[in-house]
């Protein structure tokens, strides 16, 4: 007799249970061949029956041993619910089912003695999302002319760079009374209001990263949408740095400063300036923590570009040389402005926090005109790897914090001078245009997005615990992995095409929202266009409450 013991792990302890129908299964092996998590195994099962067929007890026995697919009962190789088995099964014989009774959060800690880490986004479902209680409620009809979304032209452009107020513009009339500039103005790039957010070459497979970069180039070159992409921390392929497409890239520096050696060395060979520099101080998905690239993903090219051996790469939670807001302005902004001879705008990204407004107020003063943007990242942001406790329980929602910052600038009459960019769960429901539009009407100049880009590429993860295994390097979609066998599943052209198509669709949808409020340019701060069905939301954001 082989018996279970109380604390042996069983399927019911795990977050997903494999639902398997042996009568439909042909043992074709597809599910077990595709599962990258080793969460299912071929096994042999006994079938035994003692029965009697006669008119009196006459024992007969039937015995067979049949091959079946079984779920691995382990907290290491457990089913993440990615559903690849279901996808490849020709007979609908297998699929993962969410297990309501999971003991995973407890047993994983008990057995491992280590914090739970994963990728994805916050998985705690709260009430209705703030943005979903907001509608574009001011529709121009009899009051003022609305526009036609399909047929009119719109200027969907947002600034990346320091905007000087009119009085500070160094313009003066010359002898012929023509305006001329007589001093250097800070660089500003007018770009599409959706930046593809910072995902590093370590977090993404090379195929994925290149697919995204290609989509950005295509959107610019073939579709006329000036979309920009932020490199993420951890370096940029040198061949891209030396190409003309660098102009579409925003280079990131984070606390690990990974990859900047190669960027600096590529400078003499650059044929274009990058679109901007983003100093990452914090990340919405795991505020207070630095990057976390687990060793499984530190492939050889990552080691080379980053200049480190194979190991868990933890970026410190803070930039080691920064001790105050003033210093970050002085040192980081100045360093990166000077690195590109003051031709490239430099912005900063922080995790939304109770203290964001203070930070923003400090930046807004910007006596040197070197602060090119304030990127705020809220709690619902995604990540390739974080401690689950950070993902689920730390951070600050983006909506009210963005609004606070905008209104703080308005109070000082300085709105628009330091562009505000917002992120953190935008597009979570799949509709980025609506979320972005609302954020813009609340005061953002634009938004940035990461996780949604992965979902465009084929990521099957969601915010209800499905997959979320980006940290393992075993991404079944080939997106967040450095394993060649998995990365090969991803077609970079298809990735690029999907992203391009999503942006084209989103572009139309932006217009569908701009037209009714009668704006042909971005309605930054036009909160009169919004109404909230939730009283508390309306009060907090200072918009009209409707019911």
């Amino acid at each position: 007799m082989e018996t279970m013991r109380l604390n042996d792990v069983t399927a019911n302890d795990l977050p997903w249970k494999i639902k398997y129908d042996a009568s439909r299964c042909t043992m074709c092996g597809s599910c077990v061949a595709t599962c990258s998590f080793r969460a299912i195994l071929p096994k042999v099962e006994r079938r035994r029956m003692v029965f009697s067929e006669g008119n009196f007890p006459e024992p007969k026995a039937r015995f067979s041993a049949v091959p079946v697919i079984r779920q691995a009962k382990s907290i290491r190789n457990y089913c993440r619910g990615c559903g690849m088995c279901e996808k490849v099964c020709p007979n609908d014989a297998i699929k993962p089912e969410r297990n309501q009774d999971t003991r995973h959060p407890v047993i994983t800690r008990c057995l491992g003695g280590d914090s739970i880490k994963r990728g994805g986004r916050k998985n705690l479902e709260g009430s209705t999302r703030t943005l979903d209680s907001i509608r574009v409620g001011r529709i121009s009809q009899m009051t003022d002319p609305s526009l036609d979304a399909q047929r009119h032209t719109f200027d969907l452009l947002a600034p990346f760079g320091r905007i000087l107020p009119p009085k500070k513009l160094p313009f003066s009339p010359d002898v012929d009374q023509q305006l001329v500039t007589n001093a250097l103005t800070p660089p500003v790039n007018w770009i599409y209001p959706v930046i593809i957010g910072d995902m590093s070459i370590g977090a993404l497979s090379w195929r994925m990263w290149e697919g995204v970069a290609m989509a950005v180039a295509y959107l610019n070159e073939e579709c006329g949408l000036p979309v920009r992409m932020c490199s993420g921390e951890g370096g940029v392929p040198v061949r891209l740095l030396k190409s003309k497409y660098l102009k579409y890239m925003i280079l990131q520096i984070a606390s690990g400063h990974f990859g900047w050696n190669r960027i600096a060395n590529a400078m003499p060979h650059m044929v274009e300036d990058p679109a901007g520099i983003l100093i990452k101080i914090g990340q919405g998905a795991k505020p207070g923590d630095g990057g976390l690239l687990q060793a499984g993903k530190v492939a050889e090219h990552i080691q080379a570009i980053r200049g480190v051996p194979k190991a868990d790469l933890l970026s410190p939670p803070n930039h080691q040389g920064l001790y105050s807001i003033e210093e970050s302005v002085q040192k980081m902004f100045l360093s990166f402005n000077s690195a590109f001879k003051f031709r490239v705008p430099v912005a900063i990204k922080v995790a939304a926090s109770a203290t964001s407004v203070s930070v923003f107020n400090n930046l807004v003063r910007d006596p040197y005109n070197i602060v090119g943007g304030f990127f705020l990242d809220g709690i619902d942001g995604g990540t390739g790897a974080a401690h689950e406790v950070s993902l689920d329980h730390t951070g600050h929602p983006i909506v009210s914090k963005l609004r606070d910052c905008y209104l703080a600038a308005v109070t000082q009459g300085r709105q628009g001078q330091i562009p505000l960019w917002a992120a953190g769960g935008l597009g979570k429901t799949g509709d980025l245009a609506a979320d972005a539009f609302k954020m813009i009407a609340l005061g953002a100049n634009g938004v940035f997005t990461g996780k949604l880009i992965l979902q465009m590429a084929g990521c099957i993860g969601n915010d209800m615990g499905r997959c979320n295994a980006c940290n393992t390097g075993l991404c079944p979609a080939g997106i967040t992995t450095q394993e060649p066998q998995l990365a090969h599943r991803l077609d970079p052209e298809k990735v690029a095409q999907n992203i391009v198509n999503y942006f084209l669709a989103m572009d139309q949808e932006f217009k569908k929202l701009l037209a009714p409020i009668g704006n042909s340019s971005l309605p930054v701060g036009r909160s009169d266009a919004l109404v909230a069905t939730d009283h508390a939301v309306a009060d907090r954001l200072q918009i009209q409450h409707v019911c």
């Binding site: 042909t26 092996g29 077990v32 061949a33 036609d148 047929r151 180039a217 070159e221 066998q485 599943r489």
Partner: protein
């Protein structure tokens, strides 16, 4: 004489639009067809009006309001003497509208038929949503000068002509962003157009266009009294036309974008993309979710005999029962029973009788029903013939001690072709097998048979020859290597009061087996409840004791089988019990109890007597100090085995004997000795035991050990059942015969998808899945 319609009353007060239009209707009802209207911004003058007989209606209007000519029908002609405000010709349904000045915003808005002529400029959104209903003539909209912005939005049909007179101060003659959403119709323009949408073509005129304009322009200019421009306007080189793209052309436009593939190949960073310098990858290859070859996540390997069966791993003599059974399964009975002799000369005496069979404790089959019957298998080999020794090597090895270890060493040394001499202190070899194990546990003829087999192999034996320092020195000289296998024969005694009264267990057993019938009292206490202690207890009963009690300071170390046997005879075991003293009454424990005894026997182990070798060759505890290969660390060429290095079972000594023989073989060949490790034991996880049908335990009887072939799993050694070959969904596994008579299974990398079903189904755990990812 035209009907005079005046927009003021007698007091020069302006009439309402309704009052003015009522005048028009009244005049129409009187049969008037010609109207002169003096308006003051009255709306909707001119339509929709008609006559019963179809005779035409003519309006001449001054100072109209908005929507002059709205819904105007065919047969109505309206001339505005001067400019018109917004929406002139709105929804024109066939009327002719002549505006001799400028016209306001949205002129000709939604006009669907009729002709509108404007002598000046028109405002924003003019011509928007013009359309052509095929049941009527297409609308025409002629403008002498230019338009405001956003004109011709959503235009669906009809013709507009923008002549661009007096428009040099404007960037364009169509304002900004004309033609947004235009899906049909034609616009002729003389001058520039800017910011046109993608939905239209801007083209040169063709012959038909020129003909249309040639015919229309004189009429237009005449209607608006501007014939002086005819020459300017008939210079067609200054004209262009705008037409909407067709539905197909618009779809084509979207399809026009280059494919992502073309973009990657022709425009994107060349020579393999941005990672080409650091990652080797061909993007043309996109794997599926299930792949054969390189993109498999797992690769199967047929790892026959890469892991030790649990029985072999647990056996101190390393007997591979799975091999023995596979030979039986293959019908090779003789080879099977002889195989075991390669590992032990005592399969019948030890495996079959006295060994506690750790192999069975480990046997996988126990998880199905009962372990494979090893003793029965061992007994099969009693009559087995000795293997043929290798050719004589000319080397000589002395083995000190003819116990199970020494005999094993000698046996294996002989098989390896070395001359071997056993130096035995007793009158006969056999050691403890013969000296101390009760004959009801080990029949004398079984042991005798197996000892004879050793002797018959050509092992020289010198009995009654205890080894002392001098002899040892001579052996060292005379032989190429020496094996110390003298066992442990010095009983351990604890010096508590009365210890001199103790009978030593080992000596007692030796006396029993030697037929000396050593006397015992009715009540016997045995100190030590290990296996030897149990043998002593049995001996005491055999010598006439009525009540035997064994004590121990800890949980008895004897095997359950031995304890059960003892208890069945009425024996008792007490533990923990610490001896305080022994006197005439018996044994007093430290907690003050008296265990009455006529005889107290101590059996808590023996120590080796190695006084014939230098003290410095021994460990602190008096055992021979050896390296990983059983060779004395301080005396190369001298090997020690069995109880001289560590107390153990008989099978340990036998195993040591074989190992020593193998190391000596290497040593004699002049090779550097390297410790041999057993293969790692196979994990139970790898064995698909479910393929075996459990036997009903109640019906077991081992009448024929050869039938165990059906029960042995063959852990770690392929049983050639072919489950994998049949189960492989891709048919990727084939079986091949090898030249040496063996066989192998091979998985074809080009076919295998790495599903692991072969490994999952293998009863023996042969297929291992290499985790690539």
């Amino acid at each position: 004489m035209a009907a005079q319609i005046i927009g003021f009353d007698e007091n020069k007060k302006r009439l309402s639009t309704q009052q003015l239009l009522m005048q028009v209707y009244a005049a129409l009802d009187r049969g008037e067809t010609n109207f002169e209207v003096l308006s003051s911004g009255h709306h909707n003058i001119g339509g929709p009006l008609w006559t019963e007989d179809g005779s035409p209606l003519k309006f001449s209007v001054k100072n109209p309001g908005q929507r002059v000519g709205s819904f105007g029908l065919s047969g109505t002609s309206i001339t505005v003497n001067g400019s018109a405000p917004a929406d002139a010709g709105w929804l024109n349904a066939g009327a002719e509208l002549i505006i001799k000045g400028d016209s306001g915003d949205t002129t000709a808005h939604c006009a669907a038929s009729g002709k509108i002529y404007v002598a000046g400029r028109v405002g924003t959104r003019s011509g928007s949503l013009m359309k052509h209903d095929p049941a009527f003539d297409a609308p025409e909209f002629w403008v002498l000068k230019n338009t405001g912005s956003f004109c011709f939005e959503f235009m669906g049909g009809g013709t507009a002509v923008i002549c661009g007179i007096d428009s040099d101060d404007f960037d364009t003659v169509l304002g900004d962003r004309a033609c947004m959403g235009m899906v049909g119709g034609t616009i002729y323009l003389r001058g520039e157009a800017k910011n046109l949408p993608d939905e239209v073509w801007l083209m040169e005129l063709d012959e038909a266009d020129r003909e249309f304009l040639s015919q229309g322009l004189p009429t237009f200019l005449e209607k608006i009294d501007r014939s002086q421009h005819l020459e300017t306007l008939t210079d067609f080189s200054q004209w262009k036309k705008i037409t909407a793209k067709t539905y197909e052309e618009r779809r084509w436009r979207h399809a026009q974008r280059i494919s992502m593939r073309e973009f990657r190949m022709n425009k994107w960073v060349g020579d393999g993309g941005i990672f080409a310098d650091v990652v080797k990858d061909n993007y043309d290859h996109v794997a599926g979710l299930v792949n054969a070859g390189e993109d498999r996540l797992k690769i199967p390997h047929w790892q026959n005999k890469a892991f030790c069966a649990p029985c072999e791993a647990a056996c101190p003599s390393s007997i591979p029962t799975q091999d023995r059974i596979n030979l039986l399964r293959a019908g090779k009975y003789k080879e099977a029973i002889e195989l075991v002799l390669q590992y032990s000369p005592f399969p019948s005496s030890v495996c079959g009788e006295v060994c506690p069979n750790p192999c069975m404790d480990a046997c996988t089959r126990q998880f199905i029903d009962l372990p494979v019957a090893m003793p029965a298998l061992g007994k099969l080999s009693m009559e087995a013939e000795s293997p043929t020794p290798k050719a004589d090597s000319g080397k000589k090895v002395a083995v000190i001690g003819g116990g199970p270890g020494g005999l094993s060493a000698a046996w294996h040394l002989r098989l390896l072709g070395h001359g071997t001499t056993i130096i035995e202190a007793d009158k006969e070899v056999g050691g403890k097998l013969r000296q101390v194990i009760p004959t009801d546990r080990l029949p004398a003829d079984t042991l005798g048979h197996e000892i004879k087999r050793v002797k018959d192999l050509g092992v020289a034996i010198k009995t009654n020859t205890p080894v002392d320092k001098a002899l040892f020195a001579k052996l060292q000289q005379d032989f190429d290597a020496v094996v110390i296998a003298s066992g442990a024969h010095n009983p351990v005694v604890i010096p508590f009061p009365g210890h001199e009264r103790l009978v030593k267990g080992l000596e007692f057993l030796k006396a029993v087996n030697n037929g000396e019938n050593p006397p015992v009292g009715e009540k016997v206490v045995v100190i030590g409840a290990g296996n030897a202690g149990m043998d002593v207890c049995l001996g005491a009963y055999a010598m006439g004791a009525k009540q035997v009690t064994a004590i121990d300071i800890q949980r008895p170390a004897a095997f359950k089988k031995e304890i059960d046997h003892f208890e069945k005879l009425g024996g008792k075991i007490e533990w923990p019990a610490f001896t305080e003293k022994v006197d005439g009454k018996g044994l007093h424990t430290k907690d003050g109890r008296l265990l009455e005894a006529d005889t107290v026997i101590i059996s808590i182990g023996e120590r080796p007597d190695l006084s014939y070798i230098p003290r410095e060759w021994l460990t602190e505890r008096g055992m021979a100090e050896v390296d990983d290969c059983g060779q004395l660390t301080k005396a190369p060429g001298i090997f020690a085995i069995g109880d001289t290095i560590q107390p153990g079972l008989l099978t340990h000594a036998i195993g040591h004997g074989r190992e020593a023989a193998e190391y000596i073989d290497e040593y004699l060949a002049g090779n550097q000795l390297k410790a041999k490790k057993k293969l790692p034991q196979i994990s139970q996880e790898c064995l698909s035991k479910e393929l075996f049908r459990p036997h009903n335990r109640s019906r077991f009887s081992f009448t024929d050990a050869t039938k165990e072939t059906s029960r042995c799993i063959s852990c770690g050694t392929c049983r050639d059942c072919g489950m994998c070959l049949e189960a492989c969904p891709e048919g990727a596994i084939r079986r091949e015969d090898c030249k040496d008579g063996s066989f192998e299974y091979i998985s074809d990398d080009h076919l295998c998808i790495g599903c692991g079903i072969c490994a999952g189904m293998c009863p023996c755990g042969i297929w291992g899945m290499e985790q690539v990812v």
